[in-house]
Amino acid sequence: MSEPILQMNNIEKHFGNVIALAGVSFDIRPGECHCLLGDNGAGKSTFIKTMSGVHKPTSGEILFEGKPMSFDSPRDAMEAGIATVFQDLAMIPLMSVTRNFFMGREPTKGHGLFKRFDVQHANEVTMSEMKKMGINLREPDQAVGTLSGGERQTVAIARAVYFGAKVLILDEPTSALGVRQTSNVLATIAKVREQGIGVVFISHNVRHAMSVGDRFTVLNRGKTHGTAKKGEITSEELQDLMAGGQELAELEGSLGGTI
């Protein structure tokens, strides 16, 4: 397998006296989907926020394309090619798909006072990028609010890919979606991976992770339990790792093995 694009070595993050991350190592290679699994409170959010430049690690090392990196802001990370699609998607329902797609990075034409938003070009790009992801928009000036949750997720992913993401971090992209929309988003992830982008897929749903993941890292109480390749681990084992085994086994017994 090729060299990792992004390597996070022994990352620690403390908030006052709370140790949110106690030495987490993680890496992502081009064209793979690396799943980061963990229950609520495991430190997933803190970890991806460290990866995307929102938080600075208390200690530990971040290597981007082999070089040590320190991101001061999400903007820095974005410019380097680390794009994060957070759960709120950074989408504005009242604005059109095109306006959302290019929000903050509007293409312009003309010069000086007459430098203006190139709406036509933006519309064309939006339509064609969305088509590549398998979504036919009715019209580019359709408001994002009229799209389904899965479609919005896809717009956010397409936007990150179009603006040159090398690493795409998806924060629980399937958590609020129905069955059909979930499979659409998972299919989109597969398409993104084929383009040679490294996808970090955060989830607490083992089945979703198993369907697209190449490698799996489980985070529990701020620590990792190592990384497993596809085929080396079963979904039951992942489930156990996430919930800390013992307690879940007891719960599962009382629920008749339905979790």
Binding site: R75, L94, M95, R99, F102, M103, G104, K131
Partner: protein
């Protein structure tokens, strides 16, 4: 669109008919309202209202309000309110008049200085709102009183005890900038139009309409510029974005703080522009100038389709909203209706507009 794309469309989606596409425009309500009001006055008012001079009569207050309303609309689209713009008219009027009368400055200095001071107050408003995270409603409510009070105190200081500052006419009489900010534009054109009989004349041959009041030109210019910025520039996209969702906008790299502060400054400058025009027109300024105009401006913006929650609206809407205002306030004098119905109308119109906007928003976002 190409054939291929056409066939790939979702077969469950019908093409929207024209009326439904129009329904999605934010300014629709204001245009519909204007048509209604026009029909109402065509039926009830003296036909003199719809002559050229009648038109100028109701467009003048419409334009004065509109200059404020366009600023208010831009700020509302950006997700904030400014309740201090009415007081800002008085405050900027005081600054402007004091610079002219007490300091004897020419317009070419006094106008930019007034605008800069107004913009600075707007920036202070914006900074406080952003730094404290308090609702702009409260912060600017405080400034509504602060600026009104400062205007009173300042006027007494500038005049030695009075709350009215006079003598502006004399101060600007021969200034080359005076015609840009006061009086009627294109007098020669209108004199010529009167000569050839297009414009009605008085018995002595002077045209009944001597020109276009300059505020109307400023109003149209401002509406056009605001619309261009909103729809055709990256900054416009940022304004919609910060109003729609501050967090999403800043995560996408929109300079949220700068956009909001610039909007507060712009709104304050609109108030200052109105103050300059009014002070030059009246030849004096007093502390009650712009009283309660902030509410009228916000109402005009809401009639124009701005959502109170931000992120949606249009400058064209505010343009028509202001014209509705002017038509009603002046139009009632052309009818037998008691003019005090105006306030009733104002409240009703606001309520209807807000309800209508909610429906529109649901249509746009596809909420059910």
């Amino acid at each position: 669109m190409t054939e291929e794309a056409e066939t790939a469309m979702d077969e469950r989606i019908k093409k929207d008919p024209l009326y439904r596409r129009l329904m999605k425009r934010p300014e629709l309500g204001a245009i519909a309202g204007m048509i209604l009001v026009t029909v109402f006055f065509l039926a009830t008012a003296d036909p003199a209202m719809f002559t050229l001079s009648g038109f100028m009569n109701f467009m003048t207050p419409a334009a004065q309000l509109g200059i404020l309303a366009i600023g208010a609309a831009m700020l509302m689209i950006g997700g904030e309110f400014d309740l201090s713009i009415g007081s800002m008219v008085a405050f900027a009027g005081l600054i402007f008049a004091a610079l002219l009368v007490n300091f004897g400055m020419p317009l070419v200095v006094a106008i930019p200085a007034t605008l800069i001071i107004a913009a600075a107050v707007g920036a202070v408003n914006g900074q406080i709102v952003l730094r404290t995270g308090l609702p702009s409603f409260i912060v600017t409510l405080a400034f509504l009183f602060v600026l009104r009070g400062l205007s009173l105190v300042g006027l007494k200081w500038a005049t030695g005890g009075s709350t009215q500052l006079r003598g502006i006419r004399d101060a600007v009489e021969n200034d080359f900038l005076t015609p840009v900010f006061s009086g009627d534009a294109f007098p020669a054109l209108f004199a010529w139009l009167a000569n050839i009989g297009v414009v009605e004349t008085f018995k002595n041959g002077a045209p009944k309409v001597p020109g276009i009041p300059v505020e109307i030109l400023w109003f149209v210019l401002l509406a056009a510029a605001a619309t261009y910025i909103l729809l055709k520039t990256p900054v416009g996209n940022w304004i919609f974005a910060v109003g729609g969702d501050t967090n999403a906008a800043s995560n996408s790299g929109v300079p949220v703080r700068n956009v909001k502060i610039a909007l507060f400054m712009f709104t304050a400058c609109c108030a200052a522009l109105l103050a300059i025009i009014q002070v030059l027109d009246a030849g004096s300024t007093d502390a009650r100038r712009g009283f309660q105009k902030e509410f009228e401006a916000i109402i005009a913006a809401v009639i124009g389709g701005c959502l109170l929650t931000g992120g949606y609206g249009s400058a064209i809407g505010a343009f028509f909203g202001s014209i509705i205002f002017g038509m009603v306030v002046i139009g009632l004098t052309y009818t037998n209706i008691d003019q005090d119905w105006f306030q009733v109308f104002l409240g009703t119109m606001l309520l209807l507009a807000v309800m209508f906007n909610n429906v529109i928003r649901k249509r746009v976002t596809g909420e059910r």
